[in-house]
Amino acid sequence: MLSINKASERDHLVIALNGEVDASNSVELDEVIQEAIAENAHKILLDGSELEYISSAGLGVFMSYLEDFNEKQVTFVIFGLNEKILNVFHILGLDQLISIKNTREEAEQALYEA
């Protein structure tokens, strides 16, 4: 089960994931990010504090937008990942390619300093 909540705060968008992302529902995550880009969001915060599991289908969604974020100068920061999920990002070295912070405060700071 996955639920995704999208909300605007100050000058940024918060996408909160709750549950598990796998091949059956990664398209939902894809749609939300695509929507955010279409709406010209320039600062996107991904709240992963309620994310319990992610497979390569979900990781692939993030990866597939890195070029778009770059081209459109979108700052994308993930925060709140538990250690199991953080470990999966580490295994592939994705933590070197995506900005990942521990807390919402650190993530917001990274968003507004960028």
Partner: protein, 138 residues
Amino acid sequence: MKHELKLYCEKSRLAELRVFLSGILSASGLNEITQNQLILAVEEVCANLIIHSHDCNPLNHIELEVNINQDTIIFEIRDSGKAFNIIEYKSPEINAVIKEKRKGGLGLLLVRKIMDKIEFETDPSFNTCRLIKRLKSK
């Protein structure tokens, strides 16, 4: 100890696979990070078979057998779809995945990084993929 699961070829069944694996692994004494890695690796192989070898046909199924031994855990995944030789498959470079905006290709890379040994066999009736994790190795 041996555990078996018959998994029908629908993506919505992956959650059921995770519950099955989690039940077995939670009693294994492995830490949570390792348990999650093993669940992920087995799911990646099964998702791959469900999507690419069976076109998500819910009438088809794959069989999973988990054997926990003294020093290894062996996950044996059997199916009778189009043979997919995981050993011959070349994982893409991460940079190519980003450049081509590909959404797939990372799964089997994860499997290779997580497991200690991967075996693949095929005969006219079955394809068998064996994922082996040595205990106390990491």
